[in-house]
């Protein structure tokens, strides 16, 4: 299929250009806009970004392949990035990953046959105190995971509901002994 930016996307890209003294820095935000529009930045989308910014295709390809959050191929509708790094490892991150593998019937890195879920193991997401946790499609964090919480999350995603932002309160000082 031919990929085209919408008028709004192009306006946003024009606006981004005013943030920087040259056009190259727009590469990262433009790839984000493209991924939000098309769900991925495969080689065709990378070419579109290059053409739009008038930058070499090789440059855009180089950037897209350096950063893990850009999807270089199509993914499931929901991408579950399970953190297993250090603090999550200590707090059961691998148990959550294994549970999701069994529940979805896929291995990490794979997508379910119905195209609904992609499951990934990822590096530290900076939520160490709220482990184990995962991120849904580069957006909301879901913290303090248990099997029950995972079940609920999968159900709500299947029903088309996105998780809410989980505000984690500051520890109250009067609790400190």
């Amino acid at each position: 299929m031919a990929y085209e930016f919408t008028k709004e996307d192009l306006e946003e890209i024009e606006k981004l250009k005013t943030k920087y003294p040259e056009v190259t820095p727009v590469t990262l935000p433009a790839l984000w806009i493209a991924q939000n529009r098309f769900g991925h930045v495969n080689s065709e989308v990378q070419k579109l970004v290059a053409k739009t910014l008038d930058l070499p295709e090789a440059h855009v390809h180089g950037v897209a392949t350096f950063y893990t959050q850009y999807y270089k191929e199509e993914k499931g509708k929901h991408v579950l990035d399970v953190c297993t790094c250090l603090s999550c490892q200590l707090c059961g991150g691998y148990d959550i990953l294994n549970y999701l593998e069994d529940k979805l019937g896929i291995k990490k890195g794979e997508t379910t046959d119905d195209g609904m879920f992609t499951l990934n193991e990822v590096e530290c997401l900076g939520a160490c105190g709220y482990a184990p946790m995962l991120q849904v499609t580069n957006d909301k964090y879901v913290n303090h995971l248990t099997e029950e919480k995972v079940d609920k999350l999968i159900e709500s995603l299947k029903n088309g509901e996105q998780p809410e932002y989980e505000k984690i309160g500051m520890p109250r000082r009067n609790n400190i002994k």
């Binding site: 943030k19 040259e22 990262l28 850009y70 490892q89 200590l90 590096e123 900076g126 160490c128 520890p171």
Partner: protein, 431 residues
């Protein structure tokens, strides 16, 4: 040295005030008064140098991990020549165990914005970028909103508070790369490229973003600036440990009852943080080990912790570092081989691949540790690992190779028995 009175410490960065992220509430609680003072009170702050001197005197040691005096760093900027100058604020926060700057983005974004603007004033900077890791989408949205509010209130933009100073302030989102927390890699990423660290010199103060003078500071470091301006360097120096002063955001995670981010003075005893602040080990188990400041800082055994406080001087006596003050606590059941393998896997995954000792070295560290983890290793592999670390350290453009080497060396040295027990009996004849 006397222990800081941490129990009665009043937090400055993340005080217990509801809705402080709203600019009106921030102003009501004294917010932006430091900025007003610096930008308009010519008697108190006759020139930008006076601001730099105050911050230098306070000795705010960089909270991103390196611990360098922030004011001293500011003083490295060359004299203004009329061209653009940049402040790049490092909100990449990706070192495993570190989750503190997000608390500022969420609970008190304006204290960081105010600190960054004062830094920009002091260094005659024209444009500020705050680089936030792409995974922090929620916080990126919050920061965009806070910055817009500060624009609307006249704290950012043209002729700020009638001072004649113009400063722009933008958010730049990363897209998943630990290495972009390395300062020159972050500059490359801001310039829209792959995050390859740059060879230094030239240092960013001479040639940074687009070849122009640039200073890079951590988010928490900048958030300390308004209080230093309001209360003075003497106040800051009087909080916590003498050579590493000021409040610190401690991020405590792992096997503790109450993990989280706590703002307390520097120099709090490690054991107080674990047993009192984080309320002890889960399930009443024994403490086995703690990583004091992010995964690259050398691990400490429980028996090394007596009298050790969270500041660079004290931590150095037991061969480790303050890092980002992201403490990872491990209980008695923790398998140190598994932990070290996971840390090695992280650095292998995140090596940018520019320098051979790091690209290849991190891979070998992981491979050999996997072999040991699977019970296939031999005792001589442990010495091979130690040898590898010395071949990686100090031989690369940036510190990622060092960050990968240190935990391997120190975890093996400090838990050697556990590693040897996991190795199979050597089939080689003993001499």
């Amino acid at each position: 040295m006397s222990k800081p009175d941490w129990k009665n410490f009043e937090p400055v960065l993340i005080p217990d005030i509801p809705d402080l992220d709203q600019i009106k509430n921030y102003e009501k609680n004294g917010g932006y008064s430091a900025l007003k003072s610096v930008f308009t009170d010519n008697d108190k702050w006759p020139d930008s140098k006076s601001v730099i001197n105050e911050v230098k005197e306070a000795n705010i040691r960089g909270r991103g991990g390196a611990g360098f005096n922030a004011g001293l760093k500011w003083s490295f900027m060359p004299p203004a020549d009329g061209g653009p100058r940049y402040l790049a604020c490092n909100g990449d926060e990706s070192e495993p165990g570190t989750f503190k700057d997000r608390k500022i983005f969420e609970y008190n974004p304006h204290i960081f914005i105010e600190g960054a603007l004062i830094a920009a004033y002091a260094m005659e900077i024209t444009t500020i970028y705050v680089y936030i890791r792409g995974e922090y989408k929620s916080y990126i949205d919050m920061m965009e909103e806070a910055i817009q509010d500060a624009y609307d209130a006249g704290y950012i933009g043209k002729d700020i508070l009638g001072s004649g100073r113009d400063i722009e302030f933008y958010v730049h989102s990363g897209a998943g790369a630990y290495i972009c927390g390395e300062e020159t890699s972050m500059l490359e990423s801001l310039e829209g490229k792959r995050g390859y660290p740059r060879v230094k010199p030239p240092f960013p103060a001479q040639k940074g973003l687009w070849g122009r003078p640039t200073t890079i500071n951590n988010i928490e470091t900048l958030a300390h600036v308004p209080a230093v301006i309001n209360r003075g360097a003497e106040w800051f120096k009087g909080v916590g440990a003498k050579n590493h002063p000021g409040p610190v955001l401690y991020g405590i995670s792992g096997h503790v009852n109450r993990p989280g981010v706590y703002e307390l003075p520097s120099g709090v005893p490690v054991l107080d943080l674990i047993h009192n602040v984080a309320q002890g080990i889960k399930g009443g188990k024994e403490l086995k080990a703690v990583i004091p400041g992010g995964s690259s800082t050398p691990v400490l055994r429980a028996d090394q912790l007596d009298g050790i406080t969270m500041d660079s001087d004290s931590l150095r006596t037991v061969g480790t570092m303050m890092g980002t003050a992201g403490m990872v606590v491990m209980d008695e059941d923790t398998d140190m081989v598994d932990v070290l393998w996971r840390i090695a896997h992280f650095y292998h995954h995140e090596s940018c691949g520019q320098c051979t000792p790091c690209r290849e070295g991190t891979g070998w560290l992981e491979k050999i540790l996997l072999k040991i983890k699977n019970g296939e290793g031999e005792v001589k592999d442990l010495d091979l690992l130690l040898d590898l670390t010395t071949q990686m350290e100090g031989r690369t453009i940036c510190a990622l190779a060092d960050a990968a080497a240190w935990p391997v060396r120190h975890t093996i040295n400090r838990f050697r028995d556990e590693f040897e027990a996991r190795c199979k009996k050597s089939v080689h004849a003993l001499a």
